[in-house]
Every structure is written in structure tokens, then in C-alpha cells.
């Protein structure tokens, strides 16, 4: 298939380029030729790298390598001649062998560009705030400053969440999954305490007791703490919406397994007031966002209820090996 061949791709307005496993061009459609290869000479057989320049070349080659090596679709963004594109590189598979790669370039909408620009605008003051808070934290070492220190720490944690979700937003706009951190780990005690701290005011306003039962320390757990915190916040919010006044909700974490802990379990429990049978909707389903998140992090989540004791949602996470 070359520039001269006629196929459905010929009539596509979006630029398309097909490469072979050796990184040579097998086909470009007319839309691609018009925008990226205006010289008109046959591109077939040329290295893919020769079709692009500078940073775009680097982005395309990186995506092609990733796509061919891992056999999965890779999304990335590029800008050419003042136009932004969202690119999708997908492997072409025939009889279990990867025989090439097809790259589709879709012009980005102005809204995406604007969102990205906004994200950059947000990231800059957030970075400044981070520096200020770090400096303030250094100045609040004495016992008299304890209250201020705790306020600054609270602010830092909130800012860390803003940074985290701001990065997630960028990944979402760019169409790339958030950078996977295979070695990421978190302190479950801190994550549980932070999740509870975020909702303590809301619980208190409804007259519901929120108890945190965690030991002083737990082994570090594999996964992204910010995402686990989000899952716990969602679960606690769910409890908040169904709990009755004067009820009590507990969030707990502890190690499980014999000898050296291999896992930890984080539970959210609510005990019914009076007779257990009056507990609101004991079979309430778990929010999808939470179940997906826990699964993504390699954890396991189950809910159960018993009119005699109450309702519980338990999440198990693997401990990070030493």
C-alpha cells in the first residue's frame, strides 16, 4: 500500500500513516501527505522518522516502539505547523504476530488546547504555594507553633491532592493514562487519617461519630496513596449519606496474615443504632469508581452486612516486600 493505492483510508480527512515492524513507512493517506509530506515524493519504504521533525519525531518513534514492544495502543499528542493533534498508535496483529503499526492523527479541538493551557495556569501557582508552605513548615518547629504547624501540614496535604489531580487532568486531556508508578507505595495509617480528616466536619455536622482505629505504624502498602484516599473518601461519603443521626462510623486499618504481615485490611464499618434490622440499605452497592480503583491498585474489596452487628466494607492491599 503506498500513497497511490486506493483504500478507505484514502478518503479519510484525518492523517493516517502505517509503518512496518522495522520502522519503515508502508502507507500514508492523502490527508497525511497534504499536511506532513507536501513534497509529493513516494514515502513508502522511508524510515518513519524521516516523515517527522524535532520533538514530533521523538514522540512518534517513542510511541511506535512502545506500541510494537508491548502490543498495545498508545496515545500521545503532537503539534505540527501550528496545529495540535491527538495521535493514536495501534499495533496491527496478524496470526499472533505484530506486523506493523497504524498511526491516526486527529486534530485537537480548541477546547482541549484551552484545557491544557488552563492546567498549566493552575500548576504554576500551585507550585508557588508548595514552595511557600514548605518554607513556612521549616519555621514552625517549636512547641508554641504546634497549631500553626498542623495547619501548614494540613495545607500541604490539600495542595498535594490538588497537584495529584491536576496531573491526572492533564493525562486525561492528553489521552494518556496517568504515569504508572510500579514502585509506588503509601502509608496506610496516614491515608486513613487524611481521609477521615477531610470528612470529620461533615460527620460532626450531622451528629455522626467518626472513629479512626489505626495502630501507630503499618508496613508500607503497594499502590498510589492519593487514589486510595479518594476511594476511602468516596466510601465514607456513601456512609454519610445513609447513616442516621447518632450512628457511628469507624474507619480502621490493621495488618493481616500470620507472622510478618503480607497484607493490610482497611475497613469502613457502621454499627446500627438500636435494633440492627433498622439499618438503612445494608446491601448498598459499592460505587464503581471505588471498585475499579481498588482493582487497578491490585487490591480486593468486599461489602457485607449483618443485622446483629452492622455493615462493613473491607479492602485488602498487599504489603510492599522488603
Amino acid at each position: 500500500m503506498s500513497i497511490g493505492s486506493v483504500s478507505l483510508l484514502t478518503f479519510l480527512d484525518a492523517p493516517v500513516v502505517v509503518g512496518d515492524p522495522e520502522g519503515r513507512t508502508a502507507y500514508i493517506n492523502p490527508a497525511f501527505a497534504r499536511r506532513f509530506h507536501p513534497g509529493g515524493e513516494d514515502a513508502t519504504g522511508q524510515p518513519l522518522s524521516a516523515l517527522f521533525e524535532g520533538g514530533v519525531r521523538e514522540a512518534v518513534l517513542k510511541a511506535v516502539v512502545e506500541c510494537c514492544e508491548q502490543g498495545r495502543t498508545v496515545r500521545f499528542r503532537l503539534r505540527h505547523a501550528g496545529v495540535g493533534y491527538t495521535a493514536v498508535a495501534s499495533p496491527i496483529v496478524a496470526e499472533d504476530a505484530r506486523v506493523g503499526v497504524v498511526i491516526l492523527l486527529v486534530e485537537s479541538g480548541a477546547a482541549d488546547e484551552r484545557l491544557l493551557a488552563l492546567q498549566r495556569e493552575i500548576a504554576e501557582p500551585v507550585g508557588e504555594l508548595r514552595r511557600v508552605l514548605d518554607e513556612l513548615l521549616e519555621q514552625t518547629g517549636g512547641r508554641r507553633d504546634e497549631r500553626y504547624r498542623s495547619l501548614v501540614e494540613e495545607g500541604s496535604r490539600a495542595l498535594a491532592r490538588v497537584q495529584k489531580w491536576s496531573e491526572e487532568l492533564t493525562s486525561l486531556i492528553v489521552g494518556r493514562p496517568a504515569a504508572a508508578q510500579p514502585n509506588a507505595s503509601f502509608d496506610a495509617v496516614r491515608v486513613v487519617q487524611d481521609a477521615a480528616a477531610r470528612l470529620r466536619g461533615e460527620f460532626a455536622a450531622l451528629g455522626i461519630e467518626l472513629e479512626v482505629l489505626v495502630p501507630a505504624r503499618l508496613p508500607r502498602v503497594r499502590g498510589d496513596g492519593a487514589r486510595v484516599e479518594l476511594a476511602l473518601v468516596r466510601l465514607l461519603q456513601g456512609r454519610l449519606s445513609t447513616a442516621r443521626e447518632s450512628a457511628s462510623v469507624t474507619i480502621a486499618a490493621r495488618p493481616i496474615g500470620r507472622g510478618e504481615a503480607r497484607s493490610i485490611v482497611i475497613s469502613i464499618c457502621d454499627a446500627p443504632g438500636g435494633d440492627g434490622l433498622s439499618m438503612a440499605d445494608p446491601t448498598e452497592p459499592l460505587p464503581t469508581i471505588v471498585t475499579e480503583l481498588v482493582r487497578e491498585l491490585g487490591g480486593e474489596i468486599r461489602s457485607a452486612s449483618d443485622p446483629l452487628v452492622g455493615r462493613t466494607t473491607a479492602i485488602r492491599f498487599d504489603v510492599l516486600p522488603d
Binding site: E211, P215, T250, I256, R258, V265, L308, T312
Partner: protein, 144 residues
């Protein structure tokens, strides 16, 4: 060999499931009589038999959360100071666990429950349970 294993495994599995359901049934029986401590022990046994059923660990936490309230009530105002009631040479007669012995060694008549809880490095459930039991056994008392 493979045949024997394939026949034996379901049998062991069903025996395990039977044990778990018996433990859970007995635990519920104890709960009806408000024996939360006893029910907790049984749920813990069931959870250790079935590590794949994490909902059992959830029930363990649920019972711990109920019991911790009871222990807090027993201990009362955490700013109060526990005092030893039993002479040190008679403590061995109580057959205390190592953890309880450790907690007891921290009771000096000057340190409050609150402070003791923070220095034991145990979880609040474990530490409060020990204090509640020491109070029940008359080994410590709370200064007025």
C-alpha cells in the same frame, strides 16, 4: 496421584467451608447474647481459615469497633491516672499476657491513660482492651 488430589481437594474445601459456617453461626449465637468478645474470637478464627473471604476481616473490624466503645466507657476519662492495686510480687499470679505485662510496667501512678495509650505503640483497640481487662481484674484502679 493427581486423581487422589482432585478428589481430596473439594472434600477439604467443603470441610473448610463447613467449619467457617459453623464458626460464623456460633459467633452470631454469641452476638444474640451480646457476647461481642466471644464473637470476635470466632470471627477471627473464621477469617484465618479463609484468607480469601475478606468480608470476614470486615466483620472482625466491625466487632472491634463495637468493643472499643465499650472499652472506652470502661476506662472513662482518658486524662485520669491509673494506679497499681496489686503488689508487684503478686502480679505473676494473674497469668497476664506479655502485652498486658508490658502495659502494666508503664503504669507508674503519674501517667494518664491518654499518655500511656500513646507510648505503648499498640493500636488503640489492643491497648484499651488491656486497660479494660486490668480494671476488670482489679489489678489497676483509677485515681479519683
Amino acid at each position: 496421584m493427581t486423581k487422589v488430589r482432585s478428589l481430596r481437594q473439594p472434600e477439604e474445601g467443603s470441610r473448610r467451608d463447613h467449619s467457617i459456617s459453623t464458626l460464623v453461626r456460633d459467633a452470631q449465637q454469641l452476638l444474640r447474647g451480646n457476647d461481642f468478645e466471644g464473637a470476635l474470637d470466632l470471627y477471627q478464627m473464621a477469617a484465618s481459615l479463609a484468607p480469601d473471604k475478606i468480608e470476614l476481616e470486615g466483620y472482625v473490624d466491625l466487632l472491634r469497633s463495637r468493643l472499643v466503645k465499650h472499652y472506652r466507657e470502661r476506662v472513662g476519662d482518658a486524662s485520669r491516672i491509673p494506679k497499681l492495686l496489686v503488689p508487684l510480687d503478686q502480679i505473676t499470679g494473674f497469668n497476664l499476657s506479655a502485652d498486658a505485662g508490658f502495659v502494666l510496667s508503664l503504669v507508674d501512678g503519674r501517667t494518664s491513660f491518654e499518655e500511656l495509650l500513646s507510648v505503648t505503640s499498640m493500636g488503640p483497640f489492643e491497648a484499651l482492651r488491656i486497660f479494660a481487662r486490668l480494671l476488670d481484674a482489679g489489678i489497676v484502679e483509677v485515681a479519683a
